[in-house]
């Protein structure tokens, strides 16, 4: 009888303990679900904020610059606009206190881009920078793409020399990384997707990077900006931009699949940028 009792008590206490454990597990799971929902919400807000900033804020600053500062100081006004329009990205990035793993991963991609520029130093404009930035944006998302692009330009200029062109290069490469993160997800499996990515790469180097850098030249030298000046600048910059575009397409063809695989593996294994 006593033994029976003891057994009953034992079973009861065991059951009680089990239910406590169950409750705790449930609570932990609920907490995690809530955290994940929070994280998702925050990510959505961040995406909306960055989209609004780049699609609304930048053009409006340009408009204000054109309408208000009719002082014909195009050069300083344009540099200011470029710096202003980069600031929100950096602010959002700093504000959310990025995790150490995100920082080191971005640093690796920046270093790869810089080393790539140094490795192909002999061939003018034939560099893998844009391809690496695009792949980073595709795999790690638009925000990481922007930060990687801008910092690749900044750090590589620490080796090759900073100048008034630095903010422009930072902005152009950052924009390429940002757009590639918005336009593509990292499911580049078929040949058609890769083709689309290469088309985007060619467009990004000629249409975004080349155009921004040639525009910089016009703003730097002209007192009154006219259409034929832009046309002349774009025409004279086109050969160099085409070489850069060819390099970008080449490196995208070679690097996209292996790099996306490796980055995907790191993301899955260590739970970063998911």
């Amino acid at each position: 009888m006593l033994e029976q009792n003891a057994k009953n008590v034992n079973i009861a206490s065991l059951e009680a303990a089990e239910s406590i454990v169950d409750e705790r597990i449930l609570a932990a799971e609920r907490l995690r679900a809530r955290q994940e929902a929070d994280e998702k919400k925050r990510r959505l807000i961040r995406r909306i904020v960055s989209a609004v900033l780049i699609l609304v804020f930048v053009p409006s600053v340009v408009l204000v610059g054109l309408l208000e500062w009719q002082d014909r100081k195009y050069y300083i006004v344009s540099i200011l606009i470029i710096i202003f329009s980069m600031a929100p990205f950096f602010l959002v990035f700093e504000k959310r206190r990025p995790r150490a793993r995100e920082l080191t991963l971005i640093a690796v991609m920046v270093a790869l881009g810089v080393a790539g520029r140094a490795a192909f130093y002999m061939l003018p404009q034939f560099k893998p920078i844009a391809a690496i930035v695009i792949i980073t944006g595709v795999s790690l998302g638009s925000e990481a793409g922007f930060i990687t692009g801008a910092l690749t330009a900044f750090v590589s200029n620490m080796f090759f020399g900073q100048g008034p062109w630095t903010p422009w290069q930072m902005f152009a490469l950052g924009l390429i990384g940002f757009l590639s993160g918005i336009l593509f997800n990292d499911q580049i499996k078929t040949k058609w997707n890769l083709f689309l990515l290469c088309v985007f790469g060619a467009f990004a180097t000629v249409g975004i990077y080349g155009q921004i850098m040639d525009t910089q030249f016009v703003f730097a030298s002209a007192q009154k900006v006219t259409w034929d000046m832009f046309l002349a600048a774009y025409a004279s910059g086109l050969p160099m931009n085409l070489i850069f575009a060819a390099a970008t397409v080449f490196f995208l063809l070679v690097l996209t699949k292996p790099l996306l695989n490796k980055l995907g593996r790191i993301k899955k294994k260590h739970g970063v940028f998911e």
Binding site: K73, V110, A111, F154, G161, Q162, P164, S221, K224
Partner: protein, 295 residues
């Protein structure tokens, strides 16, 4: 010899460069441009010696030439027409503007040449670390990774060579394939080790305290003195342009301010402000000379 300006607080140095860069952009007055160009050139030659010539010939002269030519070709504003190219007037004003903007760009590029000598990577990381700790960490890590990756690539290449898959042998396609496999294992290694680095950072308390940097700069009396002189120079610039001591108009006709004694005084103040590094270097050289002659 180490430049005297190299040792002052990076914040003061940054303000100096910002001042030197922005003034010619804001006011393209021939006197200001001339002073800015001359001061930048003197300092650049102090910093780089004969190597400065290469920089000038490679970067500064082509930019100046291009800007001087492009402006009169595309800009036909101004009232003094000199001659016509295919029915398009070439005006004196746009030529003057072309020369001025060429001088402005040249002075910007020259100041940046000095900036690149003074602002080494540790100073940039120090400055960034105060405003953007995350970004400055990425910058400093990327700077470290570049030589690290090069070294690791060499190691991988040596191992592949030992296994008979070196880049040196075989057909071109084979070599390219071997090169790519070196790149592939380098990238895998880099990504994997970046996570290890991050874990090690976390376990050592990354993010718990505000960031500190490798080099620490105290704000000492000399920094305060130079900062004060800089502030005086900026104030005089603001006053001069506020009270229309200095003004310039290019179009429709070229017109500058009258030359008054106050204007000359302002120019001297501006020149002295820009010459701060050069003066510091001269004082150091004189001290060195004195202490040597005492021996």
């Amino acid at each position: 010899m180490r430049d005297a300006f190299d040792t002052i607080n990076p914040i003061v140095a940054f303000v100096f460069f910002a001042f030197a860069l922005v003034m010619p952009m804001l006011l393209m007055h021939p006197a200001l441009l001339g002073i800015s160009l001359v001061c930048a050139l003197i300092w650049l030659f102090m910093l780089r010696g004969k190597k400065a010539w290469g920089y000038i010939l490679k970067f500064v002269l082509p930019i100046m030439l291009l800007t001087t030519i492009i402006n009169p070709l595309f800009n036909h504003a101004g009232i003094t027409t000199l001659f016509y190219i295919r029915f398009n007037p070439v005006t004196l004003e746009s030529i003057i503007y072309g020369v001025s903007s060429a001088a402005m760009l040249a002075s910007v590029v020259l100041w940046f040449a000095c900036f690149n000598q003074i602002f080494t990577s540790d100073k940039i990381v120090y400055l960034l670390g105060r405003f953007a700790p995350g970004l400055s960490l990425v910058v400093s890590m990327a700077l470290r990774f570049v030589p690290l990756f090069t070294k690791q690539a060499k190691r991988i290449a040596a191992a592949q060579r030992g296994a008979g898959m070196g880049v040196g042998g075989g057909s071109i396609i084979n070599r390219a394939r071997n090169g790519l496999s070196i790149l592939s294992s380098l990238i895998t290694w880099a990504l994997e080790s970046s996570v290890t680095t991050a874990d090690s950072m976390r376990s050592r308390g990354y993010g718990l305290h505000p960031r500190k940097s490798f080099t620490s700069y105290r704000f000492d009396g000399r920094d305060a003195l130079i900062g004060g002189l800089l502030a005086l120079g900026m104030l005089s610039c603001a006053l001069a342009s506020g009270f229309k001591l200095i003004s310039i108009r290019f179009f429709p006709s070229y017109k500058t301010n009258e030359i008054t004694p106050l204007f000359i005084a302002f120019l001297i103040a501006y020149a002295l402000t820009l010459l701060i590094p050069v003066i510091m270097n001269s004082i150091e050289a004189y001290r060195w000379h004195l202490s040597r002659s005492k021996l």
